[in-house]
Structure formats: C-alpha cells, structure tokens
Symmetry: D2
Subunit: 489 residues, 4 copies
C-alpha cells in the first residue's frame, strides 16, 4: 500500500530502500488485538512510522491507529482493551507523507451497504490514480490519497452482492502488487496479487488462523506455519474454517527478490528457504564472483552482516565487527546545530579502530541506493586506518524505482542509474567495488540462473523489467514494460 | 451536525442542553486560519470538545483537527503555519461520541470528481440515516457516523456538474436543521436550512467576507456585521464577490428560540435583538408572571445572570451574587475518589453565605433539564441559611428532545416530561417553582404572542411541535409532527 | 513565598496584581491528598501556574508537583494514589520564574537530621537574600532561588533539637510575611507572621483539622470554620489534638487589605466579614465619594462585579453586564500572528454593545496597575457607542510595590506612581476617573478611618508604609519604612 | 553515582548487570551543550533512563534534565539553545528509583557560598549514608537520596576556601568509586577515585578539553584521545589550560574488569586495549578452557557477539547468528495481557531456526545474573531444533553484588551465589555449562594471571573481594573486605 505522491527521500534516514508495510490478521483467538500487537511488533522492520489495529467483537468494529512504534503505542492494557473481539487485523507503515498524518494510517475501515469492512494492505496498485478518477466520476469521495482507499470503493461500488464476490470483482480491476488482510462482521479474508509480489503466509495458533507478511510474526506468538498464500489466491476464513479460491485466472510467481536481499527479517522463511541462509549464500556467491586479497571482512551493520559472514566463510577470511552501531538512534534524533550536522553518520555508526587499523578490509553492504552513506562509511574506515577498502554489494546495482510498495528515490537519484561501476568506485572512494550479478542472486535463492524470458522473481529494481503494466506511470517514457506480463494476468 | 447515535448524557457536565456546534468561514483575508482560530474561540461556548480548521491556499487544502479547546490547539504559530491560504473554514464541536474520536471532528474534507470540498455543519439532519442507507446501496462508503458525511456523499453523487448545483441538489434531499460553511478550490459557500433553525450571519473584514454562527465571532476580529443569511438562502462567495440564491422554494423562519434562552453568547445579536436584552426581558416577564415576596434575587451563574438582573429590576428586589462559580473547573476535573464524589457541584459552585443567610431568595436559572443540579444548588442555598427558596426558570418546561443539533437527554430523562410543576417543586425542594410561559417567552423575543398555527420560532423542546418531518425517528410514536411543516418546505 | 528575582510582568496576563500562593493542610483524614486537591482547587485563584501536594503515611513522605492547574493535575485517581496517608499539605503557586521550572514549585521537602520536613508557604520574606548568604557561608547549599528554601535551612541548622523549637528559632530570624503549613512525621504545624499579613484559617472536618488560606477551601470539603490563626501564632497539630503557642513576642494585626479588594474569593470570610460584602461596601463608598451623573453601571468582569453592584445600589443606577468575558481563555492562548496581536484584550472581553450604545456609563474596576488593560477596555466602550465613560476604581491608587508575596511590577511601572489623577484620566481616555480614598477603603472593611499612627491593615501598596523592615531592599532609597514597625515585632 | 536504596530488579529488562552512569564534560568549545548531547548519546549504553546537561555561559548556569533517551530529549535546537555557554557537563543515568523521578537526575547543581557548582558522577560512594547522617546533624538538608548530593554538601561545608581545596577535602572523606566531572564559574574539574574503579578519559577537540567515561564519546565529536585520568588524579581545567594534582596520597589501579566484559562499548579503548579485542580474547580463552564438540557457535546478541567470534575462531567452528534480536523493543514495551506475558523473551529475541535446527550449538553469553533469560533462550534453542546446547559464559560466575555504581540484584538473587555449576547446568537446561576462569579473564585483559594479593582490577562481583571498606554495609556479615584495601587509600 502506498500513497500516490512520491515520498521525499528522508536524508536523515539511512540510505536504503524501505519496505512500506507489514500486515497481520488473526481470526478466532481470545486477545486477538494483543496477538496482533505482537505480530506487528515482529513486523516492525517493514514500517516504523505508524501502526494500526482493527478488531471486531461480534457487534462492532474498533480501530486504533497511531504514529510511532508498535511497542510505544499498542502495548498498554488500556489500548488493547479498546480493541475487543476474537479477530483483528493490523498494519505497520513506513511512511506518512507530508501533512496527511493519521488519515493514511491503516487499517482503513468503511461502512458500506453490506456492513463494516476493514482492510490492511501491503503493496502498491499501479493503476490506482486511474481508478480513483473513475470512481470519483461515479460519485465516490476520497478521504485520503492512499491506494488502499481505492480498494474500499471498488468493493462498495461492485454490482455483486456477497462480500467475497465484491472483493474478487474489486481485485480484478486493480493492477500492481498487493497482499491484503481484511475483516468483515463474518470473515477474515487474505488475498495476494496474481504474481505474488509481496509475501503473505498462513499460520495456526491452537485453532485460530493467522495471516502475516512473514513467518517471524508467527514465531513471536508461538503459531505454527501452515503454508504461504499462493499468488492470485484468496482465502476466506470463517467460523466454519478456511476456504481457498483462485479467482484471477492465470497467475505466475514473481515474488519480490529484494525481500531476500534486505526487506525481510533474517529469521523469516519464504518458500522453505530461510532469508538468513539466502543472505549467507549471497555473500558466498559474491566472494566467488568478486574475491579480493584482503585481511578481514567487515559488515555494514546490521543488514550486511549475514552476507559478510557468508563472504568471509567462502573467502576464508576472518569476519569482524569493524563498525559499531548505536542502536539508540531513534527517528527523533535531530542534529542539534548546523555546525555539527556534518557528523551525521557518526550518530549511528562508529569505526572499531582496533579492528580496522592497518588492515585491508572487505566492506559488505546489502545495496547502494543514493550512495551518500557509503561515501561516509568508507571515509570512516579510511580515518580508522584501513589501508585498502574493497566494497562488495550483496545485490546487483539498483537502477530502477519500485512501484510495488517500496519507498525508493526516483530513478535519477539512484547512484547506479547515474554512474558506471568505475564512476561509483571513484565516487565512493573505494579501492574496488563489486556488485553481485543478477544470476548470482538467482543462484543464491536456489535457481540455476535467471530465466530471462519469464523471470522467476520480480527484480524490476535491478532490471527495469516490471511484471505488471504501470498504468499510472503511462506518460513516463523511461518505464520499460514486458508485454508478456500483461499476458501473465 | 450531529452523530446518529444518541449521546450518553455526561453526568459530569452541568445539567443543561448543549449546543453542538459553531461554524466560521472567511474568504479573501491574509491569515485566514488565524482569523478562523479567533472566530472559533469566540464561538467556543457552542462546542468545547473539539475544533478544526480547513484552509485552501490556491493549490491545496490543509486540515487540522484537535480534541480540546481552540485556545489550547489553534494558537501556536506553528499550527497556523500549517494552514496557509486566504480562505478557511472552522468548526467547534460539543461532543465526540464514544471511541470514534478525531474521526468525527469537523471540518470534513473529501476529494470528489470536481476536486476538493470541505464542510462545517451546525445542526442535525433528521433523515440522515435513511439517506445513508440509500447512499451505501449505490456504493458510497462511510468513514464516520456523522450526518455531515452524508452531505459530502450527496454532493459527490449528484448528477449535476457544477458544485453549487450539486450542493443545491444535495440539500434538497435532506431534512432537518443545518447552517453550513463550505470551501472548494474556487468558492466559499454558506447555506441555511429552509426554516433557518440554526443561525448563520455574514460579516465583512476590510473586504474579506466572513460567515459565522454568531455576531460575537465578528466582534473578536473587528469585522462589521452585514446581515443574517436568510432561511433557505445559499450565498456563494468568490473572487468576484457574493451571490445569493434561494433554491429551496417556500421557506419560513423558525429560528431556534433556545438560542435566546441559553445557547448564544449574551453579546450576540440576532434579528437586530441583543441576546442579553432578550434575557433581561425574559427575567422581567418572569417577574411579572410569577412574582414572589422575597428579599433578594440570586442568579445561578453564569447563564442565569441576565434574566436574574431583569427579574430583580422588574420586581424591585436587590440583585446579588449568592453563588460563586469556580471558573477553573475544566473538563478534566475528575473527582479523585469515590468517597468524595458526592461533593460534585461544589467543585463548580459555592454558596456566598453572607448574601444568603436569613434571606428569602429568588433563584433564577435558565432551564431545568434533568433537575439533578437544581436539587444540589437548592440544598446548597438551604445549607447557607436561606429561609425560603423560590426558583424561577427563564424558559418554559423543556419536555421534548431536540433533533436539530442540540445535545439533549432522551424525553424520559427530562424532568418536566416526567413530573408536574408540583412534583418538581417537591423534588427540587423549593418553596415555589415557576417557569416562564411560552407566550411570555415569545413576548421577550418581541412577539405579541406565539402564533400557534405557524409558530414564529422553533420551540419543539417546549411544545413537542417539530417544524420538520423526523424521518429517522419514524418508528417512535412519541414524536408529534406538524403536517403544515412539510408544506413549509 | 516568592523568588528573589523580580518577576517580569507578563503582558499576556491581565493587568492586575497577583496573589502568589495558596496553602492548605489536613491532618487525620482518610484521603488526605484528595481533600488537599479539592482545597487547592478552591484556592486556585491564588496561583494558577503550578501546584503541589506532599503527604505522609506514617512511614514515608510522598510529593507530587506539577506545572498547571490543580484540576488538570491532581484529580486522577492514579495521582492521588501516589499520595497516601492521613495528612497532606498543598500549595498553589502563581509564578514559576524563567527556566527554574518545577524546582521552585512547593511544597518543598527536605531530609534533615530530625527526619523529613515539608513546607508550603504563602508570603515573602524580606530578608531572605541576606539570610541565604549567611547560610551559604556556614555550608548550606541552595537548590532553588525560593525564600521558602531559606526556612528549611534555618530549621535544619537551628541549634535546637525539637522540631517546634527549631521552627520557632527559624521564624524568629526571618522578616516579612508568611503563612506556613508544614508536616513532619509526627505533626502538622501552621504559623502566621507576627503581623498576620497573609491569611491562614483553621477548620474541622469530622475531627480532622484543616489549615487553609481562605474559608472557601473549607466550604468545598464541607469542613467547619473554627477560627483564624492569629498573627504570630503557631499551632501544632498531632494525634493528641491542637496546641497553640505565641513565640514571637509582641505582635499586631496588619492583615493585607488588598485581600479584600481583589485577592480573596468573594465567598471567603475574614474576621467575620464576607469579602463580597466588603466589596459591595467599597462600591457604595465609591458612589458616595465620587458619584457621577450616568445611565448605567458596568463592572469590569469578574473582579469588579461586587463593587459595581454596590455602586449601582448606592447610586440608584441600573447595573448591567456591559462587558462579556470569555472564560475559555486559558494561559495557553497565544496570539497566533503578529498582525493580530493588537486584538489582545478581545480574546478575553467583548463589549455588550446593546447595553453600552448611547449610554453614559460608569465603569467599575478593582484597581489600576499599569493601566494598559484599562486603556483597551475604555476604547472598547467608546467603540461600542458609550457617550461618556466614567471610571471608578474600587481601591486607592496603587503607587508602591508589594514585598509580601504579591506579584507586582516595580514601582516605576505602576501608573499611579508615574501620573497624577488628571494625567491618568487623559491617558486612559475617560471622561472622569476616581479612586476610592484610603479612609473610604478602611470604612468599607469596618473601621471608622485609617489609624495613621498604627494602621489596622497592611496598605503599603497604597501608602508606601511597609509594616516590616525590608532588609533585602536596603539599598533602594525609594522604600520608606515605618520605624514603629520594627517595634511591632 | 547511585541511590542508597537498592533497585528493584526490573524483570522486564534483560537479565544483566547495568552500568549506572556515563559522564561527559567539555570546556572551551562553542556549542558546548550540543557536544555534550552527542557525547552522552555515545554513552547512552551506560544509562538509558534519564539524562541531563548543565552549561555555564560566563554569567549563569543552565540545567536541563529529562527522563528518557538523549536522542529524544537533547537534540532539538530549542533545548540546546536553553543551554548556552562554552562549557557543559552531562550525565546519563540508568535508573530513577521509585517515585523520586526527576529529582535524582544529574547533573546536580547547588548554590553554595562560593557560587554555583554542578556535578556529574559515575560510581557509588560506600559511606554516603554515614556521611549524610553526619551532615544532617550539622544542619545540611537533603533533597534527594542520591550519594552525589552528599558530595555537594561536603564541598559546601568544607572549611577550605578555594573550590579545588574544598573538593579535595570532600573527596578525602568519601569511600567508594567515583569518576566526577564538575563545573564552576571558572573551572571544569575531573576526578577519579584513588583506585580508578570507574573510567574517565581526557580528550581534545581543537583546543577544547573533553572529559568522558569512554573513548567512544570522543569519536562521535571527532575529538582526539589524550590520556586517561589516573586513579586518584584530579584535573583542573581553566582558561589557562589544564593542571593535574594527586591529592589523595597512595593509590592503586583497580579498574572495574566488568567494563571489559559487558559495560563498555566494544569500540572504546581502555589502557590502550580495545574492549572489542579483549572480548574476542575472552572468547578465545573460553574456547581453550572449555572447548566442546559442536557444529556452530551462536552469540546471545548483542553483547555476546565479540566473545562468540573469538570463541569460533579459536575453536575452528563456524560462527552464525542463531538468535535474531528485535531492536524495536524499547523500554516502553509492556506485555499487553497477562495471558501472553509468558512470551516475554520473544519480544526481544527469536530463534533463527534454519541455523539451529539439527545442530549441536555453543551459545556464548557475557554473564549470568539471575539466569531467567538464559532459561528462556535455551528453551528457544531447543524448540528451534538444537540437538545439543552448550553454554559458555564470557566471565567467571557473578556471585557478589557490586557497590560501586552498578545495578545488581542482591547476592541472594544471583544464580551463581545460589547454585553450583552443576545445579546451574540443570536449572538452565543445557548439556554443558562453563564459565571463564578468573585467571582466563585476567589473561584476556593482558595480565599473566590475577595477582591474588593485590589484584590488578576490581573483580569483587566475581570474587567478593571489595577493594574499599563498605562502611554503609557494615552490618552485613556477608561482605568480606580485604584489609589491605584500606591501606591502599
């Protein structure tokens, strides 16, 4: 789920792509809202700006939405007590654009002719603006700029009667990426787009059914992993159990490969493969593809750590913590005066000089976005006495924006879209720079190589090959689209 | 504007009817939002629970809505700076029902096919639930339970094209009481229902046009009073000036007479008559109708004061402050323990014993709602040594609920609907009790008498004669409806 | 109790003297802290900036001190629950100077060799700076700039052993005005300076003993008034009852006459005389001394109201509310922009034009401090159509600063110290201006006239005759001191 | 600095010892307070409950103290602007006991006869209660229960005149551990107790002198490390430079060895040795002493990580992240309901099942305090499929409480003081459990072995051999004291 407006990249944040949302739902459990709070806490890495929970107690819907962390807003017993019922859905959100504030925080709730309906959405619709104009022409009004509200209106205005039929009807009209969790007065529904771009998994907690973005949200509540929701699948959960339908015709699996690279928590598992293991294999592939003579392998913490361990193992080099991260840096850390703003990166990272000094180091990071942080960290390594700095990136160059629910700067701001490897090497100030190859990445996730005709994953941020039409972006000539992808739907 | 759900009467509040809203708008003024904040501050007595302002700066709409007083939320320069533009509308609200919180605070904003549209509403629609069901059937979704959102949907789904035509179309379908102030990207619109139940006045501030519930909101910003918006009138304000239309056919004036009794600020003026003067005349009428031998006239502060002054003057009795009010009692005063909850009224009022002791007193209050406060105040007078307590009420007995935007307990909770005067005399514990006659009230507002065929004011809370159909209340047999009122529309 | 630093006069506040503190104590009552919260609420007019309560439960002292109103900070059950015990003292405070914040809020607590000791102080010591230097020389350290802390140190460093002896010793060394309420692990102690400048009264609540600044604090909890603490009296309350000592030798009564004029609540009673009645008599005296041909008497609300009623009665003129006060103006009302800052007074007051227009009005106010508000209010009356404005002030001209616990601007800022009556008349813009004579004021409080040799009250703000030496002000030549006052001690 | 009252161990916190304070000071730098905020941010791991800064601008002292993180309270420009001046001291604090709240947050400031004096203290005085009673007997009063206030009083009551002489006099009378940073109107003073138990280092930032608990606070502001303040050294920093005195006679170095084990940040350096390197060497020593046949080495994050890396390297086993830590767990995470409280540890940690499953694991943690967390983490490993769990602890068993400024449970609550290794093995549920030997620890810090006659470090928590007399604990028979330590003073 994303706003239509492009997010201003927050320079105060670290220089990375950001997953925009995590979703969670539970049906048939006492303390549903408390479980949702825990699940969202485990999904906090998918969105730290705001969170919300909506519950239903058999008669009424209750919603709490707050700016800030789950742990700061959804743990007081008084808050949970305002969310009674045996089913609840929740949402964590990365970004609240501009002044829109609480209005865009999910879950969104609406009263329509069939009753109440609440929805939490991870992903982004690529024809939401087009649909919104159409809906407005027929009389729908919008309270937010969120594409998720578009779904609510499509449900409400569907000519179908039953909620599931309305939702199928609605989702047949949208393009893009979505993993949805919804509740009505009778059901909890989970749904994943026909390409399964964003994740959604099913769990079981002593009979209560759970939907979540990642398996780590099952672990925290002690739920058992059942299976992944399939691309194009809709599951309908009621008191009578779970029903599955596949209403969207032809589907294909194009799961976001960047979930493995950076977004997902390392202890989560997709398609039976641990994210942590993939990251270690990425590091090993990288060592094989771009080995270098050096003394030590240093991760850029914390996201580069598994790849660095894998790199060190494969390269037979020692692994060491050469950069110490200060975990007390919250979102609220404001550099107090202009004159000390330049120390920026030091608020979060410090060189562990004893490890670095006099060494040839391999610095492993997960990706390069705008490159600003890389420049500072490399300088920090030089200042700490590194004699050589070799940077190894655990993914291919990110040259294209994501339109599927990830906060990315526009293409022109992406370093890899502006510079060659050689130019980047010089800009970042390293002795050598290497990215993982796209085939190396596919090998790490268990494929022999990328199937260039029908890629097994969505890798548009690396290749520019978007797996869906981008209707709202139609005017923009820079967007290449694979025609075969329309077919895939 | 009101929620559909009946408000639980807040026993912590004083025992009175409560006006639910004040509205304000300004077009063509620098610092429009700052002026709106001042105007709302002057209208704070019309709603103390929440307030909101929406501005437009030629490109975008900005909204700030907060629980709490205007003076606590809308005076920081940083807040006003988030509301740029030369036009703004604002709203103060009495009550935010239950957990719905900020969602129901106005102005409401919507993006519809014609663009952005914001609305602030004083009043209550009596067929909003019926309309809402209809709108939902055609696909509209509701975010709140507010009848004001119904207006937004009627505008958005109107087959007309131009905004004014849409709004006329919308308001043709609603029943009840409304004074509206709206802004779009081109216009500010003011509109009053065909019976003019709730007030709306027009002012001028050095060329900028102002709409407000009461004249006191003009005084605070130094604006000049121009005229009242007429019943059934819609004024459209643009850069080209002001245009007036009367789209609703036959209208009649049925202004809420309780505005004179209690709701309006004493320094406001309606139809050329000062509210303060009316209240003094009410006191004089009351003295003439129900004089009594006594030593002193005591107001129940602050609302009973003008009537008490009028009573004392007409009766030739001294006027004295026999009850001292503690103005530091905010909404947040919670009785800290159960064992002292019984002192309730003392938090707000204390007997001025030196004035009371050994005296026969006339206690003048504006109205009796549930009677609970009256019982306590009379006891307080007895405890302070009053030898006789004669209560005089500056209005007729309030026997019926209001459905036009006033927070009233249900009929069965109204003391005057449950008891005869004699029973009330005994229940309240006074030596004598008299209410103003309905004709006395009409005389005080300048009429010879009430025209029982076509009453000059809405006095339904005293007479049960509702001037509109009450579609949403249709099932309730206790609601008598004047058939001629449908005709009036 | 006051800080040594002179308070910057807060122009945002209304243009009046401000009482700086109210004190309250209760011994032997369940829910002592809840009773203290109620008592402080009744004393809120004596200090609105901050409040504190300290309780003792037989083993430990508990303190809560908060910036803001009593009703906003001391009514939640959770707060009261943090203040267990059957005895508690409390304090309301007008001003927290500068950045010192919570540090200066009372009650102050200290652990000294005899155990814990907490103190709440109304008044101001005139030799506190001198004593503080002395105490520091012997090794005492100060956490605040409050003169109350000086008392704590004098108690702690006294050569005496028993607490009462220590306190007597301490108070023998201070000069100025003080009404103290203290608790130790065994006792509650009340004490008033030898001239009884600030008030302190004793009450009884079903056997529990109560000390408070004013009787209105007894009324709110339903306590019975017992008597006033006498000038120079110290009462020691223990489980065995109350003991009274008079340790300070010769005393005289010099109660602050301004308590009658403005500080005290009108429903409070001092020396058997109701404050309200005194104010009405002040109005009557004023009418006799400075009658004028006019149509109507208008109070400047709310403090001028009783005097205006008395004036109107004595003058045979009608009394009317010609100025409406907006009670929603909290301390937090910030004028949002510079360009509208000039409307200042309108935030709080509005002319009731229907009453004023075309009339010759007598405007009754309690005092003139700097005159800035008077200028604005008179202009407001002119703008509302008053044909003549005659201002009558319910006290003599205030020409001198108070050093006894009242927040006053320095002498040079007092209008009456800078201008003659004639100049003030012109400056304020009235047709005539008259102040009550000093003898008129004495008559209103029940004296035949002021005894110029040994005045019956402290009237230094009118006469410059300070009843104590002003050691800390010694350098300032403008301070005249009555030599006989030293004798009075 | 510590309170006298023993802290209730917060079960919600992780089961570790907690350093209680970090101190920082800077003299002669523009933006001194901003630098202090950064320095405290780098020292945040030494105390997360509260922080304060006191600055001096040549005329006046300014203090800001807040509950919460440095990054949340000391980064707004408005806060820094309230702390002007070219010198500032700061303090982070672990714990604010009970209701005492902000009162105990440092720096403490006092006005004494010599002027203003502010102090920040890391450590704990072991005769503070005794001194406090003495000081109270001579008339000093205490506002807090903090031992730091005792130092203020000793300075204030010293018979000496000059501040340095007073401070020397004061520190001659205290026992225990202290690293102090103080400012007066002329000086900044740093001081370390005669055994140098707590750290204090000196840095230089372009001529401005800096004092801090650890070198990482120099790194963040780009200051150069100069040297450590020596045990028993006092440095006096003025506009004329730095002067060093050694006023306390005989001293010895008994630096807290637990700083290496857990307290200090890994990138800090003491005595030329990097904390990170020591921890790796600890891991290596542990592998040598207590090697085990296993598949993989897993750190308990984050504090066990360097030792685990060292262990893995020395043991030739792979190092892997088998436990994922959720860094979004703030202090505010409250388990929302009782029924899910048992999931406790999962809020912070999750097993990385793919790494654990089917493996024999070595789990490396820094210490065991009460053992509650260890039990849960081991169970988590078993649930994730570990076939064997061997726990290796990077320090000797912690059998005794610390009285030198570390928050430790009382001795009876320490697992190692209640159980033998064998009992602990069974209680924690591991296949084997081994602690580092005390000599192994000494080897890791670069000593051949522990000098049992005069140990090179304070290791009382492991050995019960306290290097100072524990006057306040005199009654407690369980405290063994080395007589030679009195001699060392």
């Amino acid at each position: 789920m994303d706003d239509f407006t492009m997010h201003p990249f927050d320079a105060g944040e670290d220089d990375r792509f950001h997953e925009e949302c995590g979703v969670f739902g539970v049906y048939g459990a006492q303390n549903a809202a408390a479980l949702a709070a825990l699940g969202l806490h485990a999904l906090q890495h998918r969105g730290q700006e705001a969170a919300g929970i909506c519950s239903f107690d058999g008669r009424q819907f209750y919603t709490e939405r707050h700016i800030g962390l789950v742990g700061d807003n959804f743990t007081k017993p008084s808050v949970i007590a305002r969310l009674p019922g045996d089913r609840a859905i929740g949402h964590t959100r990365y970004s609240t654009t501009g002044g829109s504030g609480i209005r865009n925080v999910q879950p969104l709730f609406a009263q329509y002719t069939g009753g109440g309906f609440a929805i939490a959405h991870n992903g982004n619709l690529t024809n939401a603006m087009t649909l919104q104009k159409e809906l407005q022409r027929r009389g729908s009004i919008f309270q937010s700029t969120s594409d998720t509200e578009t779904i609510l209106h499509l449900v409400a205005t569907s000519p179908k009667v039953a909620l599931v039929d309305r939702l199928v009807d609605a989702m047949s009209r949208v393009e893009g990426a979505y993993s949805l969790v919804c509740i009505s007065n009778k059901k909890m529904i989970g749904c994943r787009d026909p390409l399964g771009i964003r994740p959604l998994i099913l769990g079981d907690l002593e009979g209560a059914l759970v939907l979540a973005s990642e398996t780590c949200a099952l672990d925290i509540i002690g739920a058992r992993f059942v299976r992944e929701i399939e691309p194009g699948e809709m599951v309908i959960i009621t008191d009578d159990g779970i029903e599955s339908i596949k209403p969207f015709g032809r589907t294909a699996s194009r799961f976001c490969i960047f979930e493995y690279v950076y977004f997902a928590r390392p202890d989560s598992v997709f398609s039976g493969t641990s994210v942590y293991e993939v990251r270690k294999r990425i590091g090993a592939e990288l060592a094989r593809e771009s080995g270098v003579t050096a003394d030590i392998v240093i991760p850029v913490p914390d996201s580069g750590t598994p790849a660095a361990i894998g790199f060190a193992e494969a390269a037979g080099l020692p692994f060491d913590l050469g950069i110490i991260r200060n975990h007390y840096v919250g979102r609220t850390f404001i550099e107090p005066t202009d004159s000390i703003r330049h120390m920026g990166v030091k608020l979060k990272h410090n060189a562990n000089r004893s490890v670095i000094q006099g060494k040839r180091i391999v610095l492993v990071d997960d990706s390069i976005v705008r490159g600003t942080t890389s420049v500072k960290i490399v300088q920090m390594m030089r200042d700490a006495g590194a004699t050589e700095v070799h940077m190894r990136i655990a993914s291919p160059p990110t040259r294209d924006s994501c339109f599927y629910g990830v906060d990315t700067p526009e293409k022109g701001k992406l370093l890899a879209s502006r510079m060659s490897i050689q130019e980047m090497t010089s800009y970042i100030g390293v002795d050598s720079l290497a990215f993982l190859s796209i085939d190396g990445l596919y090998r790490a996730v268990g494929q022999a190589k990328r199937d260039n005709l029908v890629p097994q994953y969505c890798d548009a941020c690396f290749t520019g090959e978007y797996p869906t039409v981008l209707t709202d972006q139609a005017g923009e000539p820079s967007v290449r689209q694979l025609t075969l992808l329309a077919e895939a739907r």
